[in-house]
């Protein structure tokens, strides 16, 4: 009886233990951690790629200041590029050059070159879909130039750890509002959901002299000197799985407002009273945009209402905006600016990209249908470019920074 019980117990327990086992076990110091991948197109007829990987050197990271000095390697990572067919081939081939078992468990970002993105994003997504190692939260960015060069030159200045650098860089849009946080998850959402299209962060590096002017810069176009070489500004617009265009800072801001992705970020306009000056507010979106849809109309009519709160934070002119009538002017100017930017962007999306990057279809039009079949039959993708989309913004100036009125300069 006793023996029977014990052997039964073992019979139950043993299969559990053979499900997984020591062969899945990897010591931390036997693995090489790839934190960033870059994918470039390769010259020639073959459909191959140049895959670049950045691999962390943990001992250099922990050594910290003691390891100091310039150059990529002493920053706690090294970069390898290889010419191969896919991300997985690359990992396999790189294994020949890196002694430790390479893993993508800690991969934070994948950069795709613009020409590949314009071809199609699907091959990349297929890899991520299947791989158990890559997370769905991996950040994706499109680089207009050479990805390999971008990764090599764009070394962190503030952070000692490159992983940290990528993590914080990709989260920056929470308080900038002029790009987007595109991960595999958002990409898949945009691709798989009928009635919306996907957008991807733009990243690039180029030296732009401070003598140049650019009010609507994209990544790599900002007149800037010093700091890290690359920047993340603007958005790449996709139609299905293909990239079809790029939006600069001003358009990306309007895009985030229309998508409801805008949280709270600075926003500047021309001073309505003294137009030569600039005026800065901190703009906050109160909830998602309210969209009313009229299917009866031909073409389909959409009314998009944005509710926004503004905090005046900087003014160069001499107008006292704390006064009621000036505040009205300020609110009017903000409304006009936002509405005109939004209108321009919508026109561009309808005529140039033909791509509903605002998620209007998924968020509003879809709700007009009771069954999925009806919604699919309606074919929003075809109807979007003709739709009549009106935007109105409701802006309230609520606060004037830390001062109740501007400083009075004594005569």
């Amino acid at each position: 009886m006793r023996f029977k019980q014990i052997s039964l117990m073992l019979l139950i327990v043993m299969p559990f233990l053979f499900q997984t086992g020591c062969w899945d076990r990897w010591e931390l110091d036997d693995q090489g951690y790839v934190v960033a991948f870059g994918i470039d197109s390769a010259p020639g007829e073959l459909q191959d790629r140049v895959v670049t990987a950045q691999i962390v050197i943990p001992s250099k990271l922990v050594g910290g200041a003691a390891g100091g000095g310039g150059g990529g390697d002493s920053r706690g990572f090294f970069q390898v590029s290889v010419r191969t067919f896919s991300l997985f081939d690359a990992l396999d081939v790189l294994q020949g050059a890196v002694a430790r078992r390479l893993t993508m468990l800690q991969c934070r970002v994948i950069f795709v070159s613009e020409d590949l993105a314009r071809e199609s994003l699907t091959p990349l997504l297929r890899v991520v879909e299947r791989s158990p190692e890559l997370r769905r939260t991996v950040f994706v960015a499109v680089v207009p130039g050479k990805v390999e060069e971008f990764m090599r030159k764009n070394v962190p200045v503030l952070e000692s750890d490159i992983t940290r650098f990528y993590e914080e860089m990709s989260a920056a849009n929470k308080f900038t509002g002029y790009t987007t946080i595109s991960t595999f998850r958002t990409l898949m959402e945009g691709l798989e959901t009928p009635g919306e299209n996907t957008i991807v962060t733009l990243a690039d590096l180029k030296e732009v002299s401070l003598d140049d002017v650019n009010t609507n810069p994209q990544a790599g176009q900002l007149p800037r000197k010093g700091g890290t070489k690359g920047d993340f500004i603007g958005v790449a617009v996709c139609w299905h799985d293909k990239m079809v265009g790029k939006l600069g800072k001003l358009e990306a801001e309007a895009l985030n407002l229309l998508r409801g992705d805008w949280e709270s970020a600075p926003f500047s306009i021309k001073d309505p009273v003294e137009p030569k000056y600039s005026l800065g507010v901190n703009l906050r979106q109160e909830g998602k945009p309210r969209i009313t849809v009229d299917l009866e109309d031909n073409p389909v009519r959409l009314d998009v209402k944005l509710s926004l709160e503004a905090f005046l934070v900087s003014e160069y002119g001499r107008t006292d905006y704390t006064l009621a009538e000036n505040r009205k002017k300020l609110e009017g100017a903000l409304r006009e600016e936002i509405e005109s930017r939004a209108r321009k962007l919508i026109t561009r999306a309808q005529s140039e990209f033909k791509s509903d990057i605002f998620k209007f279809g998924n968020l509003a039009v879809k709700k007009k249908f009771l069954t999925w079949a009806e919604w699919e039959q309606f074919n929003w993708t075809e109807k979007f470019p003709q739709a009549d989309i009106q935007v109105s913004a409701d802006v309230k100036v609520r606060w004037f920074g830390s001062a109740t009125q501007p400083a009075e300069i004594s005569p």
């Binding site: 899945d24 076990r25 010591e27 931390l28 943990p58 468990l105 800690q106 750890d161 992983t163």
Partner: protein, 445 residues
């Protein structure tokens, strides 16, 4: 006054007169041989020679030396009574009785052991304790007559507990009379024994093993906090090293990158796999602990030096151990020290190694499998008829498990042993407090 009695009773032998009427000791012998008298005096008796008598009286006046009532050595509290049991059974019973001055407190005497014939007292409250439990204790104690030698409740426990092969303790041993009294009022049975300061309380549940006397003596938020800390320390002591192994070996994606690279960098210089590292540290910690108990107290301070210097610092400098593993084993050690019951902390120490083994073999998955088996075994165990995990499983609402409700809200006794009386304080104990009454009325109960 005594002499006045002599009038009526006059035996011929003056010795008989003295022996039966005057000496108040209960053991008096007549001795006619001087050698016997000398031996008797050397053994502690008193010899009484009477003029005109032909024999001496050897009066039993032996007095055993014993420890006086002292502070408890194991179960210390900051707030609360500071006296513990000693080795004298009668004074131990008196300590309990001084706290429960009721005629319903019964102490039944038993003798266990053929050679030791140790006195065992079973204490319970006649009007509260469940008769079935009392009968069960009687039955188990009566079975021990044929055993040679049972000197301590630690051995007694092993003879009468339900599952003698399980690492889980099933009786609560305590040296605090206030704790014994508290459990008696809840309907439990206490077993006290001569020559040992540790009383046994039956039945005991897992939760009772995590309680300390002080929990009830401090105000309830503090008591609740102490209990929560203790529960956390139990979990840390049981699972932390195994969790570390599982995460580092199987689930490295869970670690934030900064920490991951720091561990990886430290591990680069260490020649062993992570599990060997952890086992080295755990074994050394067990060594320190065992040595600390066995070491003569004069050279006891060396333990600290050896432990702190050799294991803490030198092992890291020699690249044998990563600093994180030192932190983990230190936390684990602290956790197991915070477990108030000595037996329970033994159980934790044993099972921890089992969990480490399973974690190194199959990560979280194997740990989860072991945990399911562990819980299944525990929920099947009983202590004197009471499920050991109750009132959590089987689930009965209780105000005194990990969370301790305010004392004035604990109106009924815990239902574990089905006490004869359910209510232990009136519906509204704080009857002078209008808020308290109002709250009760609003709850409609």
């Amino acid at each position: 006054m005594i002499l006045s009695n002599l009038q009526s009773y006059r035996p011929k032998d003056p010795n008989m007169l003295v022996k039966e009427r005057l000496v108040s000791a209960n053991q008096v012998e007549e001795k006619r041989n001087f050698i016997e008298i000398v031996e008797g005096v050397l053994a502690g008796s008193t010899a009484l020679f009477i003029d005109g008598a032909n024999a001496a009286l050897l009066v039993e006046t032996k007095g055993w030396e014993h420890r006086s009532v002292d502070r408890p050595l194991v179960e210390n509290v900051v707030r609360g009574p500071q006296e513990g049991f000693n080795e004298l059974l009668l004074s131990n019973i008196a300590l309990v009785r001084s706290r429960l001055r009721t005629e319903n407190l019964v102490s039944e005497m038993f003798k266990v052991g053929k050679l030791s014939k140790a006195d065992v007292a079973v204490l319970y409250l006649r009007d509260v304790a469940n008769p079935a439990v009392i009968e069960e204790v009687r039955k188990r104690l009566n079975a021990l007559l044929e055993v040679d030698y049972i000197p301590d409740t630690g051995m007694l426990e092993q003879f009468i507990e339900d599952h003698p092969t399980s690492p889980m303790p099933q009786m609560l041993s305590t040296e605090r009379p206030d704790r014994v009294a508290a459990y008696l009022t809840e309907g439990h049975v206490a077993i006290l024994m001569s020559s040992t300061p540790f009383a046994l309380i039956a039945p005991a549940t897992f939760w009772a093993l995590l309680h300390a006397a002080e929990d009830s003596y401090v105000r309830w938020p503090y008591g609740a906090l102490m209990r929560a800390v203790r529960m956390a320390s139990f979990l840390i002591a049981m699972f932390l090293p195994a969790l570390y192994i599982a995460i580092v070996n199987y689930h490295s994606a869970m670690i934030p990158p900064d920490l991951l690279f720091a561990i990886a960098a430290a591990r680069e210089r260490v020649p062993f796999p992570a599990v060997v590292e952890v086992i080295i540290m755990e074994v050394s910690f067990e060594l320190i602990r065992e040595a600390g108990i066995r070491i003569p107290s004069i050279i006891g301070t060396t333990i600290g030096i050896v432990g702190a210097l050799i294991l803490g610092q030198a092992a890291v400098q020699a690249n044998l151990i990563t600093p994180l593993v030192i932190i983990i084993s230190a936390l684990t050690g602290l956790g197991s020290f915070a477990i108030p019951n000595y037996n329970l902390s033994f159980q934790v120490r044993l099972l921890r190694f089992l969990y480490i083994g399973f974690a190194s073999f199959g990560g979280f998955y194997a740990m989860a499998v072991l945990m399911v088996i562990h819980l299944a075994v525990l929920s099947g165990m009983k202590s004197f008829g009471v499920p050991i995990l109750s009132p959590a499983s089987p689930n009965r609402p209780s105000k005194d498990t990990v969370y301790r409700a305010p004392i004035w809200k604990q109106e009924t006794r815990p239902n574990l042993v089905r006490p004869l009386k359910k209510r232990r304080q009136p519906h509204i104990s704080r009857s002078w407090d209008p808020k308290s009454i109002e709250a009760r009325v609003n709850r409609n109960d």
